[in-house]
Symmetry: C2
Subunit: 149 residues, 2 copies
């Protein structure tokens, strides 16, 4: 009986953590999914970006982001305005009504995180994050560089 490949463990933990987060969001009555929350977080971190630029920051296809933004816009949480320097483009920002929700999202997510990370030291958490970020950098690099070298 061999060890479960690391990738499958990672996928499983991500799935379980996500389910935990969704439950927390639902119980708190936030009215959004973790995917939508993630979009809000990124718009907040990078206000006024074009949709395509934001999608690149988030490592998803623009279409994927747009669907998420559509739902958030419908909830008056983000607004999309024409880019004055390029009539093809739109700039994405949070609306004022997003601020209180962001605070709640942060608090609820912190709850789920605390439960998930229970028993780990701050150093262990920091190392874990650093590793994740390292993996992400590797994965982003290989996703953007076709293997024709």
């Amino acid at each position: 009986m061999s060890e479960t490949p690391l990738g499958f463990v990672l996928f499983e933990v991500a799935r379980l953590y996500r389910a935990r987060t969704e439950r927390a969001f639902e119980q708190a009555g936030l009215g959004i999914t973790s995917g939508e929350a993630r979009t809000l977080v990124y718009v907040n971190q990078h206000p006024g970006l074009r949709q395509t630029a934001l999608a690149e920051k988030m490592n998803v296809e623009p279409m994927t982001l747009v669907a998420s933004l559509d739902r958030l816009e419908a909830h008056d949480l983000v607004r999309r305005e024409p880019d004055p320097s390029d009539r093809r483009a739109k700039l994405v920002n949070l609306t004022p009504s997003a601020a209180p929700l962001m605070a709640r999202i942060t608090a609820v997510a912190a709850e789920a995180r605390a439960e998930t990370l229970q028993g780990l030291s701050d150093d262990q958490v920091a190392a874990f994050r650093a590793t994740l970020e390292h993996l992400r950098a590797n994965l982003v690099r290989c996703a953007r560089a076709p293997e024709d070298a």
Copy 2:
């Protein structure tokens, strides 16, 4: 600009890693998804379990597993036989034709893993795995213990 919540980083890394794995599987012409590969790995690790027991090992609902097994059975990679001790149940095993595919899955997954983990020491990888397993244990515990305490 605040730090991206750990959960979102984790979800993103899992997604990117999964996409990387799917690409590798497709390029190798394996004909199965990473989800199906995961099921094969678990059947291999736990031969002859009932579907419900296997689903529990995998932390998914039985229905989810059954859908996966349906596809794998259609490809003659697993077989389900009635449990002689309980006529409601079925026992799941790999078929002989799964063995060569398992070897290929393992090799291809190792490729994706090597690329993803590039730059990390063996100790770092081991610590990462240990942390993932710790998180999984926490998440499994809270998923199975309702918060009415």
